[in-house]
Amino acid sequence: MSTPSTISSVRESVAGKKASAWEVAAEYFKRIAARNGELNAYLTLCEERAYKQADRVDALVAAGKPLPPLAGVPIAVKDVISTRGVRTTCGSKILSNYVPPYDATAVSRLEAAGAVILGKTNCDEFAMGSSNENSAYGPVQNPAAPGCVPGGSSGGSAAVVAADLAVASLGTDTGGSIRQPGSFCGIPAMMGSYGRVSRYGLIAFASSLDRIGPFARNVADVATVLKIIAGRDPYDSTSATAPVEDYASSFSKPVKGMKIGIAKEYFGAGMDSGVREKVTAGIELLRKLGCQVGDIQLPHTDYAIASYYIIATAEASSNLARYDGVRFGPRVESDSLISMYRKTRGAGFGAEVKRRIVLGTYVLSAGYYDAYYLKGQKVRALIAEDFRKAFGQVDAIVTPTSPVPPFKLGERVNDPLQMYLADIYTVTGSLAGLPGISVPCGCAGGKLPVGLQIFGPAFGEAQVLHLAHAFEQAGGAAL
């Protein structure tokens, strides 16, 4: 059979009886068997569940019934998102044997739309990291840049789509963990506004920042998946009530006249020259499409990393208190309850997670709360206000996704602060709760993928996707 690799091509094959959903799933499992040893992108496969779902889709085809939008489409899910009956580790030893008793809402919605879940993807432990090297189950190779990291924390979800081991995937983004690996692996990747997609079943890292979103091979597929998983969910009180738009409906319209803001704060020192060259060419392409490109100011950008690493670690230290060896995961036995907690947590968490628990506990502790946590929240308000003002003038803000292209495995593991600083262009939108996408924007030095990031105002997913789609259609990836 041919190799279907977009949502529409799979759906057409299945609907036109060129391949059954079962055959599509089998083909993907065959490819995974051939390549996953080298990439280490999948941690767990759920073949039984996938074939059962494929059978359901094939029964609809056989009965001549209408097919749902993702009928037979193979999709992968990051291992911090709960899947009933399928091991979910969060890339951590402390959940090495955890099997959730329920599905995340995003997963249920995908399956209700006909998607075939293939398995769970590798990631940085509890989604803490920017290179996927903090997984307890080993690093992931970048299929688009051999020898390099795939980005993180959703490195596995980006890699499986880039290597065509899934048609689309779900990742999570807290400070850039969808957009940056999308950029590093050369595929589009999006986080909707905070609250756009239910977090029910997403194992929490930082609850005021965490979001679920899609990776796919083109912007139209990103839009299709986002539309399906988005929307109010009674199981997540922070899921937004705003109606979900039909994102693709604007794709045929030109982007001429769209106002685009460029902030000099996103083109400062520390930016790789290859990234600068490609993103500058990307902005030129938008101008050629008739967009009005102008300067805006986001003056508090330089404070975003500091604010982010206070808030994210504080929330993490609280959320990760639940891993205590009582209800799930392996336990390290000891003679007293407290000592059992301490030993279990000491043995179960990896270095980055422990570092963030210590930092997060410190910034929340008596005597430091005002100086760090409260200050971080106040600066977060200033950053959000910068964006509110800017979106009074423009429809979208365009930036690089990452200041650097994919780097070599092992190159940065010993310097956590340097690793944090590379999140500078993505954490701002995370703090402000805005939607953001990374779309391929050529390759630095002709080899290393570069991503162009587009931010929109809160719940402005439609205009973000519209612009990203126009950029892609105009040849953005080949710049």
Binding site: K354, Y362, V379
Partner: protein
Amino acid sequence: MKISREDVLRVAELAYLDLSEAELETYRAQIDEILEYIGKLNELDTTNVEPMAQVLADDQTADATLRVDLVVPCAVADEVLQHAPDPEPPYFRVPKVIER
């Protein structure tokens, strides 16, 4: 120096986290460098700034959409206990907490 060895020990105690000697010193030094960096926030006068404790706008929040308090059956106890480190259905067993 922003954070001492004693601070790290105290925080690890609060977080119920066993750290080895080597981890203590590595994290102390790394967190010290991170806190040094975070200190740049003091360049900003935030006296009259309200902290951002809520991301969604008021018309998007749960308060605007409180749900009906309906009882929904939830029979997952067996599944949950099956994967617990030391289950004794219908309980989780832990080391003794109170001496008699």
